[in-house]
Amino acid sequence: MAHLAIERLTKVYERGKVRALTDVSFEVNRGEFLVLIGLSGSGKSTLLRCVNRLVEPTSGRVVLDGTDVTRLSSRSLRQTRRRIGMVFQQFNLVKRSSVLANVLAGRLGYVSTVRALLGRFPREDLERARRALERVGLVEKMHARADELSGGQQQRVGIARALMQEPELLLADEPVSALDPATSHSIMQYLEQMNRQDGVTVLASLHFLSLARRYGTRIIALKDGRMVFDGPPSAIDNAKFKEIYGEDAEEVEVR
């Protein structure tokens, strides 16, 4: 059985009646590194957010390991969200809070409300946070304020926060588009490491086709909310590229 199945997913935003996604269906196997590509506004972000229901789909189903995520009650939805890590384009850290506090936010789904309100996380979680930060090489920045870090470092904190959930699925929404090319590769390598070493299924949207080719085991392309390509990176030739990005597009390499 597929790890994640998207079935006829459609999203219409009420305001302005924008059709962000139209009838998108595909399956993702455990351990795949699936890359979503497409122009800005093609529906990549919406698709990722429909998986953990940060955005409510209008119709269609999202099935994770046999459970229909779209039909979960809010309580079981929170339980399911614990298994789905997420990394964001703008990192989404609380800038005034410490790195540690930001990383611990990844455990919110596991701790009681009282503990969260008092800010008293269990000792194991603190230990887990230290390991996560060690893994992204930021353990010495643990007590620094998040906004003192560089963009690449902030995204590594974002990855550490996702690691705290010990996820089986990772959603990465344009994780490197706010970063320079060199930093982009270092961030992508952390995602690749999670994918290969921990067996986490990764769903990442990327702007650059060259990054998608380099890290993806499979590519899905969206155009105006519809799926226009699904296959291995090698299958995207020049003609396919023009179809996805438009006639005038030129491929840009990120080295």
């Binding site: 953990n52 940060l54 929170r78 339980q79 399911t80 969200r81 614990r82 789905i84 890590g85 997420m86 964001f88 703008q90 990192f91 989404n92 850290l93 609380v94 800038k95 005034r96 809070s97 506090a101 936010a105 990844g106 455990r107 919110l108 789904g109 596991y110 701790v111 409300t113 969260a116 309100l117 800010g119 974002g158 926060r161 705290m164 959930q165 959603l171």
Partner: protein, 414 residues
């Protein structure tokens, strides 16, 4: 409003604005004339002022005059209404230079459009024929387009200046401003000046024989009134502020109702000044600092609640998204992602509110809220100006010190 009729709307609204502006100018001019020539000293606006007495033909004359003036402005310059709605007159091919004869023609064809109740506008909202006939078009004003005339000769600037000038002149008469009296009678409150310049501090720590509190004692009462009202008010306003924040509440129908009710209550309580509350509570719980504290407290909740809510609405939504994605529930997300973002501004607002409350405490004391305001009132009514001077000096010094201190703290936390 979109599509074709957006054009008609712009034309209509800008015309009405011009018309209203001229009507107001005439009306205000008439009022100034009326006040200046009024034989009585008692001014009764409701009698002749609200609606001037004019013959029926006089009204018609006024209506025609205002319309003509408005149309003149529109044809021979950028009128106030055109400027406000971002349109200018251009020739039919879009050239910003419009010839004089075209302008005259437009002035006359506009009359036809007006006489037919805007018929050309309803037929062709985007290109009415009274404009086509004159070979002109009202087009959106290009940003950064070169000026035809210097700003101080533009019709809309002159019009705006006239509106401001007439309003100030009318206000001057209505509020009965007399500069000469202000200067001439400077010596009238001479005993007051003398008292204020020689404050008698002998009752600073010892109560005046007719008073319960010494100046210092009353000051301490006022300080605590302000402090208590601020601290307890902030504690109540804090949880309420989330209910009054659109981004937190607007996800459900119930939430939107709660949001609207909370914001509505904030606005109602904020618009009722502490001084009214103090008058009410002085009767309810008796004169004294208790009444004053409740009065300040109620106003503080509403004022801080609104400021806090707006701050909650301006947070970065990213962390909220991240905490939600990690499986946090509502309270957890607020604690983890919202509170750290709003705490410093909340503290700054609260300190600022303490400043305000201390100053308000005097006013509130005047109407029965106790503290230093009460002392001030009693001294003033007893005509003990040296005591009044002492209270004013001590209070001003306290406010100045606290202002300085809270400003220093606020600078450091934000």
């Amino acid at each position: 409003m979109s599509g074709r009729f957006a054009h008609a709307r712009r034309r209509l609204l800008s015309f009405f604005l011009d018309w209203l502006a001229w009507a107001y100018l005439l009306y205000a001019g008439f009022s100034i004339h009326y006040i200046r020539t009024s034989p009585t000293l008692i001014w009764r606006p409701e009698e002749k002022f609200v609606l001037p007495e004019l013959d029926p033909w006089g009204w018609i004359l006024v209506a025609v005059l205002t319309v003509e003036l408005a149309l003149l402005c529109r044809a021979f310059g950028v009128s106030l209404g055109q400027r406000a709605h971002g349109v200018v007159l251009a020739s039919a091919d879009g050239n910003p230079q419009v010839g004089f004869s075209q302008r005259v023609l437009y002035f006359f064809t506009s009359h036809v459009a007006l006489a037919t109740l805007g018929l050309p506008l309803w037929l062709r909202p985007d290109r009415p024929w009274h404009e086509r006939l004159a070979g002109v078009a009202l087009v959106p004003r290009a940003r950064g387009a070169p000026r035809v005339r210097p700003w101080w000769l533009s019709t809309y600037v002159l019009m705006a200046l006239a509106l401001v000038g007439v309003t100030v002149a009318l206000g001057w008469l209505v509020t009965d401003i007399q500069i000469r009296t202000l200067v001439q009678d400077v010596g009238k409150p001479i005993r007051l000046w003398r008292g204020l310049s020689r404050p008698d501090l002998s009752y600073l720590f010892v109560p005046h024989p007719l008073e319960v509190d010494s100046i210092f004692g009353a000051l301490v009462k006022s300080l605590f009134m302000a402090l208590l009202a601020t601290v307890v008010g902030a504690a109540v306003a804090f949880p309420l502020s989330f209910l009054g924040a659109r981004n937190i509440m607007a996800s459900t129908q119930v939430g939107r109702v709660v949001y609207a009710v909370t914001r509505g209550l904030f606005n109602v309580f904020r618009s009722i000044e502490s001084i009214f509350w103090a008058s009410i509570f002085a009767i309810w719980v008796g004169f004294g600092p208790f009444a004053g504290t409740i009065a300040l407290f109620l106003h503080t909740i509403a004022a801080l609640g609104k400021l806090y809510s707006e701050q909650v609405e301006h947070i970065d939504p990213g962390p909220v998204e991240a905490a939600t994605a990690a499986g946090g529930n509502g309270l957890q997300v607020i604690k983890q992602a919202v509170v750290p973002q709003i705490l410093p501004p909340f503290l700054a607002f609260t300190l600022y509110r303490w400043d305000i409350n201390l100053r308000m405490a005097t006013v509130v004391g005047f109407v029965g809220g106790g503290g230093i305001g009460l002392l001030l009132r009693n001294f003033k009514e007893g005509l003990e100006w040296t005591q009044v001077g002492a209270v004013v000096v001590v209070f001003a010094l306290t406010v100045w010190i606290l202002d300085f201190a809270s400003g220093w703290v606020r600078e450091r936390i934000t």
